[in-house]
Amino acid sequence: MTSFLQILLVGVALATFLAPGPATAQDAIKVGIVLPLTGDQAKFGEIEKLSFYLALEEINAAGGIKGKKLQFLFADDTGNPEVGRTVMEKLIKKDKVVMLGGGYASAVTYAMAGVAQQNRIPFLINTGSADVITEKGYDYIFRLNPTVSDYTSGLESFLTAVVKPKNVVILHESSLFGAEGAKAFKNTCEKLGIKVLMVEGYEGWFRAFDFQPLLMRVKQANPDLVYMISYLRDATLLMQLAREMKLTPKLFVGGAAGFTLPEFAQEAGKAAEKVISVTLWHQSLPIPGAREYFDKFKATYQRDTEYHGAEAYAAAYVMTDVLKRAKSLAPEDIKQALKETDMQTVFGPVKFVSYGKMTNQNRLNTYVVQWQEGKLRLIWPADLAQAKYVYPVDWLKEWGFK
């Protein structure tokens, strides 16, 4: 018995050792993609990973890059900056990737950007949005998505033209993303003459379950607008409790992230209805390929996608374009090619510019969406709108109390 076990163990060990790596390992161009695949933010990681895959298959089917196949090495940052740095290090040192992509949570992305810069490997960020990431003057860091302080640019005109709120309460998860977003929106409100009644941060994970006292305070403050920057769980819980507690401001607005995920509507149910959110993208936008991407994603995975997926999908194409144009696969050449990027993607035009403290930052418009009958519809700007916004909202009716 013992000897059998020993043979088995040795066999397994040998098999793992001798097993050939991925067939195309030799002639593929390796790019590392770091995303949260487990943990708190796994849902976002999943939608992005699927989109990267979708793009990868198309790219390789179309001949890859300079005759070589593109290969994505996915790594899991688990939503933890320290883990993110370790896997980045491994991708760079051990797997010898030519460039890096991904980057979901701002805090993790920020920490990972340090590793990329340190090792001078270009890193194309597609979601991590805190301003500080591209404010450090790191020349190997490029960002495809707009910064969190630009998230509400599309919302501003909606507020001034339609809602005209007098005052606002801002609730945010207190990691880098939420904190910076809240600060930015507070400034926006002050600029627009909207009185900020309350800004309250809550820790982004398990400590956030007990929202009742918080919402009771919001209820007493009686604001016109409740602006929330949340990931998925907290977004769901906040809206569910708001419904239960019959908290009825003129409008609930989400600051993207959790509020646009299909899971938000699934889990929050009725409580998600008519909630408005900022978004960076919508399939109905007149961007070439946007609708095709959305449909293809749905056909392939039998589920909806949203802006996070589009960011990932676009990033894959930007990388392909860059790697095709780069003189060689040396980091400096790839960096140079990234700098010269000027292309159209499903996420919008991509061109990395430097302005103010920012370096290598892509600037894009943002939009406003609303959950209508369980569907996320583009409602603003008016000329691009797919559906008319519903405002004012009779919350009690929407929530099924009437």
Binding site: E82, R85, K93, Y110, A111, Q118
Partner: protein
Amino acid sequence: MKRNQVISAIIAVVFIILPLVVTSDYYRHLAILALMWVVIGGSWNLLAGYTGQISFGHAIFFGTGAYTAGILADKLGTSAWLGMALGGFTAVLAGLVIGFICFRLRGPYFALATIAAGEICRLIAVNWESLTNGMVGVLLIQTFRSKLPYYYVALALAAASLLVFNLVMKSKWGFYFVSIREDQDAAESLGINAALYKNLSLAISAFFTGTAGAFYMNYMAFIDPEVVFSLPYISIMAILVAIIGGVATIWGPAVGALIMVGIQETFRSAIFGLAPKWVSQSHALVFGLMVIFVILYLANGVVGDWPKIKRLVVRSR
């Protein structure tokens, strides 16, 4: 005496030459971490092993040192190496505050108080955003791209700490520390100012732990509260390093550091890539199993239980 000095000299030479022989960055990285843990394990050992004050809060000093270096570099733009010179001193300040509060308590209550103090420090680091950047942490760019300078700094720090611990333990202070551990009441009646010497032990311990923390900031170039104020991965790890090597021995924690970092990395890398990937995912589990194993079977550590181990090995042959 002479023989010990010769052995120490040989060990020192081996460690000085080591990175010149081992050129892989990965192994150098492990060596640097191990040397850092030599310092932390030894520091914990001074306070707990020798002075008998079981701290579950060494992350306080590690974190304070790390943040000193980090904040100086991030906010004032000084070199993080300046922070390394200062990190030890701020950790001592933190230590004096902790000592003032926690030394009123003895035994398990002291241990509990240090856990609570550690958690409070972590929460302060999370919440005092204007100073610490909160959960975002402090991000720097390393001074050197090569591992060598870091290796030698860590080596110097480890050597200095061992030297200091050795000198202290051979002096009056050392006798006093051990006396307090064995019986605080008896010690006081023998003219030992227990409060003073406990604080002295804490201060030395905090100094080296803080300096190690500041070194970590320099070397890893990124810290956040969950990393440097971590209960399991700093405070408990410090205890394990000391215990696995041998509590209340000079070389024990040093041996423990090499073993702990070695085993941890062996599993983290899935036995150098030989084993299937799930092995690497289970490295934290292995960490926990080691805690249990060590406490059950090697409660006095490899150095302390060396006779026992030798006997077992010899007998099995």
